[in-house]
Every structure is written in C-alpha cells, then in structure tokens.
C-alpha cells in the first residue's frame, strides 16, 4: 500500500496541477474581492478628500463607528455560517439597554448583569424556537422583533430616554474599544476556526441533512448559535449605553440590518457554510463606514450619497456572489 496513491487522490492531484497560474491569480482576486474593493474605496476616497479621510480624527471616527458592527458581526458569525439570521437583534438590544438602564439607576453591577442576561435570555428562546419549531428563521426573527418592539414603550415606563450614570459613560475610550475588539477577535478566530462547534456550524450551512447524517447534534448547535447572538446583543447593548449615556426605544435601531449588510459586503455567503469567514465582519463593517464617512467628506450631496451607496452595495454584492462561483478549487 505504501508509496501508492489511491485513484481519487491521484485524480485530485491531477486536477490541482491542471489549475493554471492565471487561474490561481484569478482565485486570489475572486476570494479577496471584498478586500480589494475596500482598498480601492479607501484609496479613491483618500484621493478625492485630499487625504482628509486619513486624518487621525477621521480614522478614529471610522474605527469608533465600525466597532459595534464588527462585534455584532462576530456574534452573528456562527448563525450566519448555518445560513441563519436573527432579525430580532435590534429589538433585543433595545430591550436589554432599556431594562439595563433602569436597573443601572439602582446598581451598576446589577444593571450590567441585567443588560447582558436579558439579551442572552432572548437568544436562548430564539435558539429553542429555531431548533425545535422548524419555522423559517426570518419569520421567527420578525415575530420576536414585533413582540419585543411592542414591549419597549411600557418597559421605558413612559420615559423618552433613560439616562445612565456618568460613572459608566466615563468607561468609554478608544483603548477600551481596541481591547474589546482584539479579545473578541481572538476568541472568535479560535472558536470559529479551531473548535468542533465552529466546524459544525459551517457543516450545517453546507447541508443540514448531511450534517445530521454525520452525527452532528444540529438542535444543540443551532440553539448555541442563537445564544451567542443573544449574548452579543447584550454586550452591544451595554457598550451602547456606555457610548450614548442613555437608552430609549430607538436604541439599537437598524443594528441587525447594518450587521447583515456588513457581513454581505465583507463577502459572506448568505446560505452559510465555508463561505462565511471571520474577516467578513471586519471588511464589511469597514466598507460600510468608510463609504458613509468618505462620501460625506468628499462633499457629495447627502441625497446622492444614499444613491451612490445603494448602487455600490448592489454592485459589490452581485460581483462577490458571481466571482465566488467562479473560484476553481
């Protein structure tokens, strides 16, 4: 046996040899298309804004505005890899922030715990529904979104905004955000790329039936993915309270859509599987925020900015999807 190559392996080797250098270059370009787009956008906007985009204030602002979307993307990664999506994230963040802010008025440690646990509890409920009820994931997300949104007003106690203590808002700093991002990145890389759970998430996205047949406890993995998303919502809610100093019914507004947009701009495949990568969250959030900031700095009319962004987003997403299918492995 030794020294001999099996027939399929030999065929595979032959096939790999057959990939020309040109195709390899194409593969690299296609695989990294979102990153290339980001670099082109940064370069273009850097030139047309006469370098203003690269001023330390604007770099800091871009990183500051990316921060929560990157974290949100990390949290959604496991669900995204399964081909799932949580449309109740924004409402979940709003509820966690409101409840947390109300408890923070009494006790800071308790308020922090309530913020995180509330969102995580919603994640548990969503996970159980996802795993056991077998209803389309976006329908359950919309349902939970309506349910929580309906509760936000009474939870606010009729108040427009609930302020939080300056002790908490004083925690906001670029350094804190860097530390949180780097720690979260390290955890997500490890959990997503090097654990059985991460592989199982991608396997479910690649094909649920095959995943079941290969012995993966799909229900457990699905539930866990939603719990991670819920936990992320709690952390985002807490960080939002620290950044804005208050909670209201609009806290977290559109967060899920911006995270979803970031992931797709970053090259994530909506059907899940191996097409979802950690870098999608970073590249996508950077693309979104750089465009928002850069077009404004360029002096483009705000109405035209929206149109340009819409056109660019569609082009990038269509191109990414098309190019993904052309990668020869």
């Amino acid at each position: 046996m030794s020294g001999k190559t099996s027939a399929p392996a030999a065929a595979r080797t032959k096939s790999q040899d057959a990939i020309s250098t040109a195709q390899k270059v194409k593969n690299i370009v296609f695989t990294n298309f979102p990153l290339i787009c980001l670099i082109v956008i940064i370069a273009f906007l850097g030139i047309v804004t006469s370098g203003s985009l690269f001023s330390s204030y604007n770099v800091q602002t871009i990183l500051n505005q990316m921060f929560l979307y990157v974290l949100g993307g990390f949290g959604c990664l496991f669900l995204f890899a399964q081909g799932g999506i949580d449309l109740s994230m924004a409402a979940n963040i709003g509820m966690a922030a409101i409840l947390g802010a109300r408890v923070l008025e009494v006790s800071i440690p308790l308020g922090i715990a309530v913020t995180i646990l509330t969102a995580t509890a919603v994640g548990v409920i969503m996970g159980l529904i996802y795993a056991y009820a077998k209803i389309p994931v976006f329908i359950q997300g919309l349902g939970m979104n309506f349910l929580i949104n309906g509760m936000l007003y009474p939870l606010c106690g009729g108040r427009a905004t609930i302020p939080v203590s300056r002790t908490l808002t004083a925690l906001q700093s670029s350094t804190t955000e860097i530390i949180i991002t780097v720690v979260a990145l390290a955890i997500v890389i490890l959990a997503y790329n090097y654990t059985k759970f991460g592989r199982e998430c991608r396997a479910i996205g690649a094909g649920e039936v095959a995943a079941v047949q290969s012995g993966i406890n799909v229900k457990r993995v699905k539930t866990m993915a939603f719990i991670i998303t819920g936990l992320t919502c709690g952390i985002v809610a807490l960080l939002t309270l620290i950044r804005t100093g208050s909670a209201s019914q609009t806290t977290g507004a559109n967060f899920n859509f911006n995270v979803m947009l970031s992931m797709i701009l970053g090259g994530a495949v909506m059907t899940g599987g191996t097409g979802v990568k950690v870098r999608n969250a970073i590249i996508g959030a950077a693309t979104l925020i750089v465009l928002q900031t850069g077009l404004g700095l360029w002096g483009m009319n705000t109405r035209i900015q929206e149109i340009v962004k819409g056109v660019l987003f569609i082009l990038m997403i269509v191109s990414t999807t098309k190019l993904e299918s052309k990668i020869v492995k």
């Binding site: 007003y153 970073i282 404004g296």
Partner: protein, 406 residues
C-alpha cells in the same frame, strides 16, 4: 491563516496609530469670550480660513443635520438657514443621521467634526436622544462651537450643566411650550369641548413635559376632562399610526369631542384627519395641534382642523447670527445665550394664507436684514438688538417687514 494574521496585524496597527495620535490634537478650548475662534486647528476643524467676502465676513463651515424630506417645519427652517449662510459667507455642510437613534446622532456629529466644521447647530436631536453631554464632550474635545435649537435647558438638570460646562457651547433657542399646548387646549375649551384625548411625545423630555403642563392648565381653566392619551413612538411617528390612534380613540371613547395633538403632528395629523373623515366625525370632534403641517391650510379651510401653532423656524437662524458674529471676532455676548423665541398662531384659514404667502418662503429675514445683524457690517448692532428681533417675531412682524420691503 496567513491572510487572516496579516489582516489582524494591520488592524492592530491602525488601531494603535489611531489611539496614539487621537485625542490630543484639539487645542486648549478658548471659550467664546470675544477672541477669534482658535480651537479648531487640530483634526476637529480648521480655524475659519480668513478668506473674507466683500462685506469683510470671514469664511467658515457650519454643520447641520440633513433635513431629509421637506415638511412644514423643517422646510422653511432650512430654507432660511441656507439663505442666511449664503449671505454670511458660511459653507453649510449637511450630514445624515443614518439611524434615528442616539448612536446615529453621535456618528453624524462625529462626521461633522471630521469634515472640519467650525461650528455645529443642532435641533432637538440631542435632547430627544439624551446625548447632550456626549455632544458637549465631542465638541469640546475637537474645539468646535455648537448650538442647540428647540431645546430648553433649565438650571438643575443634567443638560443645563452639560451646556454651561462646555467651553464651546454658544447658545440654545427654545419656545414657550407651556404656552403652545395651553393655546391649543384653551381653543378647544372656547369651542365648547369637554372630553378630550391627547397625542403627545413620550414623557421624559423637557419639551413634552412642558406641553403636558400647558394641556393640564387648559383642562383646569375650562373644566375639561382628559379621557386618554397616546405617546407610543411606534405609533406617533407615522401617519398610519395617527390613523390607528384616532380609530382607537373613536371606538373606545365615543363621548370624545376634542383632540389636542401636543407633539408629532407632522407625522400623525394626516392619519387623524383621515380617520375623522372616514368616520364622518370632522364636525363632532374638534382638533388643534402644535407644529405646522404641510396640509394645514386645506385642513383649516375644510374645518377638520380648528387651530395650529408652530412657525418656530427661526431659532437656528438666531443661533447662526450669534455664531457668525463669534466666528468674525465680534461676539454679541460674552455669555452662553439661552433665547426664547415665539410661535406663530394660526386660528383661521385666513391666518394660514398669510403664513403661506409671507412666512413659508425661506426668507423671513432677508440677506440685507441678516447682514445688518453682523457687527462687522453694522457695528451698532448689539445683543439687545438681536433679542428685540427675536421678541418681535410674529405673523404681524413678518407681514410688516415684507410689505416694507415691497
């Protein structure tokens, strides 16, 4: 894996660079005590370039939130601001708040600062979103002057402290919201209403609380009863929501004979009117509201609306006059200005026609009048003169000045 590591390293490097270089660029705040603005030389904005126009007015950049779709309040307000900025050699820079949330507003203000705005004039977004302190911190750190409008701040509350402690805070303008709501409620009392419902802001912001106080005073003065109120922003922020609210009121309180819309009227009034007309109750339920609406003239003509108070579209203009004088090194006052401006009351179709002709134009104050409020152009103009201009603002004042020009 290599690519990922490269990305990670690049990210850490960028973060580190930003962290090392940020935060210390803004100069020591100089306050607004008479000297030329000087705190904008870092990344938070440049000093007004010094390029002067034919009137000797220095060129500078003003940031404002993008007005979005035209409505009867923001339309004339922004039209007036655009006209005044042109007269004053000011570049007006709009930024969109991507989300109507505290986060969205903070990001928009960061983008204004990043675009080198020398000054920022905001409406009531910071008050509504509860981020006045955050705005103060951002502007102080970047050395950017800032003002608020539609925002009453009172000694003892956190917002007042945030503004007064901010080196770069210039002014806030506000209206007597107790009066506006009281005017609406009293008008219903005079029309013989006894059983009212109310649509208003969610409690907790100063404007909403004052309007509630005005409604309460009116209820007591005319011995009327408040049957129900709706303040849920998920309903009060759309026309459909307005219709839903009114349908519910009609079903639940058949004895209702008056409705006061003390807030969010630009969103709910059309829905309310639609519900009244569908139920054929436009003659049985009287309606008054705060904040002008694009269809107010036709509603007043048809009688479905009985009175409307608004026209508070010049507060930002007064803040601009203060800021422009400051930027030109001739501040009108050494103090942080808290200015109360007036509402316009439309109690009839004829009043609405007058407003349409003279007020809804974008040049309530002409370029000439605007220039005359600049000490560089008119050295005799004082802060007291500005307060007199503010105090005179009324339907009569607008008509008189327009006719004098004609």
């Amino acid at each position: 894996m290599k690519k990922l590591l490269a990305l990670l390293l690049a990210l850490v490097m960028v973060f580190s660079l930003a962290a090392c270089s940020g935060g210390n660029d803004a100069e020591e705040p100089s306050g607004n005590e008479g000297e030329e603005p000087s705190g904008n030389e870092g990344d938070g904005g440049e000093t007004p370039s010094g390029e002067t126009d034919e009137n000797g007015l220095v060129s500078w950049k003003l940031g404002m939130m993008d007005p979005g779709a035209w409505n009867a309040t923001s339309g004339p307000l922004y039209a007036q601001m655009e006209a005044a900025c042109e007269a004053l050699n000011v570049e007006l820079y709009y930024v969109v708040a991507q989300e109507n949330s505290a986060e969205g507003h903070i990001a928009a203000i960061q983008n204004m600062i990043g675009a080198d705005c020398d000054g920022i004039i905001l409406l009531n977004g910071p008050l509504v979103q509860g981020i006045v302190q955050q705005v103060a911190d951002m502007c102080d750190e970047a050395g950017v002057y800032w003002s608020l409008s539609w925002t009453k701040i009172e000694e003892g509350d956190g917002n007042y402290e945030a503004c007064m402690n901010s080196e770069y805070f210039v002014s806030t303008t506000y209206e007597d919201d107790v009066h506006s709501a009281n005017w609406c409620t009293n008008l219903l009392g005079e029309l013989g209403c006894t059983q009212l419902c109310e649509i208003g802001f969610a409690a907790g912001n100063a404007t909403g609380d004052m309007r509630d106080q005005g409604v309460q005073q009116g209820l007591e003065e005319y011995s009327m009863e408040l049957l129900a109120e709706e303040r849920d922003q998920t309903l009060t922020s759309t026309s459909d929501g307005g219709k839903t609210i009114m349908d519910r009121f009609i079903t639940s309180y058949p004895q209702m004979d008056g409705l006061v819309i003390a807030g969010m009227s630009q969103f709910v009034l059309s829905g309310v009117v639609s519900s009244l007309e569908e139920n054929n109750l436009q003659d049985d339920i009287q309606v008054t509201c705060i904040d002008f609406h694009e269809y107010q003239t036709q509603y007043l003509e048809s009688g479905v609306l009985d009175g409307i108070i608004g026209g508070h579209v010049v507060g930002t203009y007064y803040s601009l006059i203060l800021m422009a004088n400051l930027m030109n090194g001739t501040p009108l006052t050494e103090e942080k200005a808290l200015i109360e401006d007036n509402f316009i009351e439309l109690a009839s179709y004829e009043d609405a026609l007058i407003w349409d002709e003279y007020g809804n134009t974008g040049d309530i104050y002409t370029a000439e009048e605007t220039l005359n409020m600049m000490q560089k152009v008119n050295p005799d103009f004082t802060y007291e003169d500005l307060l007199a201009v503010v105090d005179a603002y009324s339907l009569d004042d607008i008509v008189t000045r327009a006719e004098a020009r004609a």
